[in-house]
């Protein structure tokens, strides 16, 4: 590994100030960062351990009936939290389908949504051409092996997908990322937190230098309880998503009052099925053909690559199954 220093953050203000240094990175669980450093995909010279920052690992109800999940809460703590499970099963399930028990015990919630793509070209330890890793070097996956890559929102400069499962649930629920920065605290809507690759695929999200994620807030949602996370992957455990769906619905006498759908494994960010959500309103959960047609409206702009055409059909089937299971919980 390249040489780096490790120090401990004392308080948020000094951490934010220290992070003005472009060669400094925050480290919490380290479950992604250490791998990135070993693969030389990231080469920070200074690591600032934020695990000791006060009051950032709480999971607590908010006054409006939502939940605030501290950025330093561990994935396993959030997954097991009674309030999380009661109000938003989709959050708990998306966490439990991710990584392994050991990793979930280490990985922080703030770090989870910051994790970088699993694109094998990006992760290669000797560094294959990759614009995300070395801007301007080209995208190996665009015309290389791209079975696992995006079908929505990609550019010729990057076809990678986002790796987080719980981010898909947060996107579906319109959560907010609470950030402390040099200008104070601000709240970023989750669907605007991650970026599409465009011409700057090296940029994963809208954070500014020095920004510290302190919490993720999930507002009260009528759809929250009838929610479900369906993850499709080649093996049964310990694998990143191939295609996944986070769905939350409000149902009245068998009819969908409102629905929230987001998909993982299909784009550079959690992919909201906005058109579908509109079409689903008022449909009967038992009218499968109508549900399928509603889901299809969000897939008309899918642009599959050479090896991932199956994701267009599979994505719709995954969305349907997740919708039916979530609806069954209403």
């Amino acid at each position: 590994m390249h040489p780096f220093t490790l120090s401990k953050a004392i308080d948020p203000a000094s951490a934010i100030s220290a992070a003005q240094d472009p060669h400094l990175a925050f480290i919490a669980g380290g479950t992604d960062l250490i791998g990135l450093m070993k693969d030389r995909a990231e080469l920070p010279e200074r690591l600032l351990d934020i695990n000791g920052l006060p009051d950032m690992d709480h999971i607590e109800p908010t006054s409006d009936g939502g939940l605030r999940i501290g950025a330093l809460a561990r994935m396993s703590d959030a997954a097991a939290n009674v309030e999380v499970r009661r109000r938003f099963p989709v959050i708990s399930e998306s966490l439990l389908f991710a990584a392994s028990g050991q990793l979930r015990n280490m990985a922080s919630m703030g770090g989870n949504i910051m994790q970088r793509t699993r694109c094998p070209y990006f992760r290669d330890e000797d560094g294959l051409p990759c614009n995300k890793r070395q801007p301007g070097s080209g995208c190996s996956a665009r015309y290389g092996l791209n079975r696992t890559q995006a079908i929505f929102g990609w550019s010729d400069d990057c076809v990678a997908t986002h790796a987080s499962d719980v981010a898909v649930a947060f996107a579906a629920l319109d959560a907010n990322v609470i950030v402390h920065g040099t200008t104070g605290e601000r709240s970023i809507p989750f669907t605007e937190f991650h970026c599409l690759p465009g011409k700057t695929p090296e940029r994963d999200n809208v954070l500014r230098r020095g920004d510290l994620i302190v919490a993720i807030e999930v507002p009260a949602r009528t759809e929250g309880r009838a929610s479900y996370y369906l993850k499709v992957r080649d093996r049964q455990s310990y694998e990143f998503t191939l295609v996944s769906a986070a769905v939350a619905v409000a149902v009245n006498t068998g009819r969908i009052m409102s629905a929230r759908l987001a998909m993982g494994g299909v784009a550079h960010k959690p992919w909201r099925l906005t058109a579908t959500e509109g079409e689903l309103r008022g449909l009967s959960l038992s009218d499968v053909d109508a549900l399928k047609a509603a889901i299809a409206t969000s897939f008309t702009d899918a642009r599959p690559l050479a090896h991932n055409g199956f994701k267009v059909e599979l994505g719709q089937r995954v969305a349907l199954r997740a919708l039916q299971i979530a609806g069954g919980r209403a």
């Binding site: 699993r118 094998p120 049964q236």
Partner: protein, 689 residues
């Protein structure tokens, strides 16, 4: 009390689960420097320049070796011209050629691992790069007929093509399998240390200590007696540790140049290019049969890739030579394609596993085409004479494997029509296959010492891959000497011990085990002979009436006995040594193989395309089982390898760069516990002398 046949737990088990066991890379050698290999990022071309200035000036760096300053090595014979321990013939850091991605181009030696790793990243390389040749539909056309190594490249009994052409039922199918990597938990590692007398000790992750000794002595140009190789414990081998790879040679030479011990452990990513792999295959099967399913002819042709410099053959078309009968003829052939990659090597289960997938799939096509049960089809084509050699099988419990396996599985409840079995939203699929595996006959030596304290020591230069060799050798010696198991100590994995064969092809129990049995018998016979030199009743007894049990020499029925301790003390002898030399003829009068029949059930989610194993029964005829616990572990381990092969494992090569993608456990998918249901393993074989 006899211990052969009892499910003893592994002797070293408690050490393993408490972290107390030292694998090769854990061994502390005083003053050892750490080496890190830097590898090529291109697959074809040459290095135009390698700038090592930055690396040489980095903290802690002792030396940077490239082709410019690495000492020259003696060339070795082509590895696959015979059973040679060299993984590949291309020697590292000898010239500027690049023949495959991940090829070593530099070795950095520093005081610490971190320093060596970091310095390696400071090396600047300029390449003259040519497009890589990768295996695929285009290069398949470049397939050539290779020279022989392990077995004949092609075989023909009768006239298969004519028999198939004239058959009323014909099946022709093409099957392909993916490149796969061994991925043992323990990456390869070498620690090399030279003493003042020029004696080289290599601590090495190897299934072949004596082969390593021989190969290193050739390449380094030193007498074999100046090389000692040690490997007491392995964290999995699966074939890739059966041969010598570049890191071993580089480490030994670096240690000699620097006059200090050097340790090198491959990274997980380097495990994909610095050691072997199982090559992909494209196999074509043609079957001709009578309308009742009786086979008339089998043709099996396979093409697989190898490196540009070696002729490795994956013998996928080996299994039809002896698995089923075909009255009109059986023909097989192998071809290879030279591409820019490291040389492939056997991977559990080598050769046969790929071939069975194709052959047994084609047999199922035949069963379906004529409407016969797949088990019945195989029973109908079971044989007693090996078609390939014309010799009778020594034992062949294939029928028993099929019948008992099917009964255990509940095969009779299966309905053959596709999509006819369901479990809720899932489609249920059930399938089966027969299998055959080569029996390796390899010379092995061992020594057993009976000691004055009544204990015994087994010494054999064989290996424990994590499979329980220590424990089963203890069981064999204990029963032969009439000692309780805990009175027998076992030493393995050192070339100072009696010479044994490579632990490859599931050969250790049958061959090294036989040498231990012979050595224990020799020690026992010396003890009996010693007893008969005394002045008591033993002298007048018939030697056939004397037995050993409970640590004593016993005259049956006469109430006369003497403990080993008393016997040795009375004769003022500190130990009795028995030597075992198992030297089987290469080919016996009978055809010797292991057999099995396996039965699987999967649940398929037809909407999401997911296939998950739900049940598995494996019925095995592998001769006498010495330890049911370690044997069962081998059975379920083999099944899990099969699950990985069938459903998950594949190494993909980037077509533009010729590099393996996702060189890690995250991207290369091996089954997790969640992928494996309860596995049912039964042994139906008998002792096959």
């Amino acid at each position: 009390m006899k211990v052969i046949g009892r499910p003893l737990s592994r002797i070293e088990g408690p050490l393993k689960v408490t972290g107390g066991l030292h694998y090769t890379a854990d061994i502390k050698v005083a003053g050892a420097a750490q080496g890190v290999i830097v590898s090529s990022t291109i697959a074809n071309g040459r290095t135009r320049s390698i700038d090592t200035n930055g690396a040489e000036r980095a903290p802690g760096v002792l030396a940077v070796f490239t082709h410019r300053n690495m000492p020259r090595m003696n060339p070795t014979p082509k590895p696959w011209s015979h059973l040679h321990p060299h993984g590949q013939s291309y020697l590292p850091l000898q010239d500027d050629q690049i023949l495959y991605a991940g090829q070593p181009i530099a070795l950095v030696v520093a005081a610490t691992l971190n320093e060596a790793t970091y310095a390696g990243t400071l090396i600047k390389v300029e390449y003259d790069s040519d497009p890589p040749v990768v295996f695929g539909p285009e290069t398949l056309k470049e397939a050539v007929q290779p020279p022989r190594f392990l077995w004949p490249v092609s075989s023909s009994v009768g006239n298969a093509d004519k028999a198939i052409a004239s058959s009323p039922v014909r099946i022709e199918q093409t099957y392909s399998t993916a490149d796969r990597h061994h991925n043992p938990m323990e990456p390869h590692a070498t620690i090399a240390t030279w003493d003042a007398d020029g004696m080289l000790t290599l601590y090495e992750t190897t299934q072949h200590i004596f082969g390593t000794k021989e190969l290193v002595s050739i390449v380094l140009g030193i007498p074999p007696e100046k090389v000692n190789v040690v490997c007491e414990f392995l964290g999995g081998g699966f074939g890739c540790k059966g041969y010598v790879w570049p890191h071993t040679l580089l480490t030994a030479l670096a240690a000699r140049e620097l006059r200090i011990p050097v340790r090198v452990q491959l990274t997980r990513a380097q495990m994909y290019s610095m050691v072997g792999h199982q090559p992909a295959s494209v196999q074509t099967i043609a079957l001709g049969a009578a309308t009742n399913g009786k086979l008339n002819g089998i043709r099996h042709d396979s093409v697989s890739p190898t490196s540009v410099f070696d002729n490795y053959i994956e013998y996928a078309a080996l299994c039809p030579r002896s698995l089923w009968g075909a009255s009109g003829g059986i023909a097989t052939n192998h071809q290879i394609v030279h591409v820019n990659r490291n040389t492939p090597t056997p991977l559990r289960a080598p050769h046969e596993a790929l071939g069975h997938f194709a052959l047994e799939s084609a047999l199922d096509e035949l069963a379906y085409a004529i409407g016969i049960d797949p088990v019945a089809l195989r029973l109908m084509n079971d044989i007693e004479i090996d078609p390939d050699s014309g010799r009778p099988f020594s034992t062949r419990a294939m029928r028993k494997c099929l019948i008992e396996g099917a009964a255990r599985f509940g095969w009779e409840k299966r309905t053959p029509e596709p999509r006819s079995m369901r479990d809720g939203r899932y489609l249920v699929g059930q399938g089966m296959a027969g299998a055959i595996f080569t029996h390796w006959r390899l010379p092995a030596q061992a020594q057993v010492t009976l000691r004055a304290d009544g204990s015994a020591l087994v010494e054999a230069g064989t290996h424990d891959l994590g499979t329980g060799t220590y424990t089963v050798m203890q069981q064999i010696a204990a029963d032969t000497l009439g000692l309780p198991a805990e009175k027998v100590n076992v030493r393995l994995g050192n070339t100072r011990l009696p010479k044994s064969h490579p632990s490859i092809g599931s050969s250790t129990m049958a061959n090294a085990g036989a040498s231990v049995m012979l050595a224990a018998k020799a020690a026992r016979d010396k003890a009996i002979e010693l007893a008969r030199t005394g002045e008591d009743v033993f002298v007048y007894s018939n030697v056939d009436d004397i037995v050993v049990r409970d640590g004593k020499v016993v005259l049956e029925g006469r109430n006369f006995e003497i403990t080993y301790e008393e016997l040795l003390a009375r004769n003022n002898i500190s130990s009795l040594i028995g030597d075992g030399n198992y030297d089987p003829i290469a080919e016996g009068p009978k055809a010797t193989f292991s057999f099995s029949a396996v039965f699987a059930e999967v649940h398929v989610d037809p909407d999401l395309g997911l296939v998950r194993l739900s049940r598995f029964v494996g019925a095995y005829d592998c001769g006498r089982v010495i330890n049911p616990k370690t044997a069962r572990s081998q059975g379920i381990g083999g099944i899990i390898w099969g699950v990985g092969h069938a459903l998950l494992e594949q190494s993909e090569t980037d077509p533009a760069t010729g590099r393996y993608l996702h060189q890690n456990y995250s991207g290369y998918l091996v089954p997790t516990s969640a992928d494996i249901p309860k596995l049912d393993v039964i042994f139906v074989g008998e002792f096959d002398e």
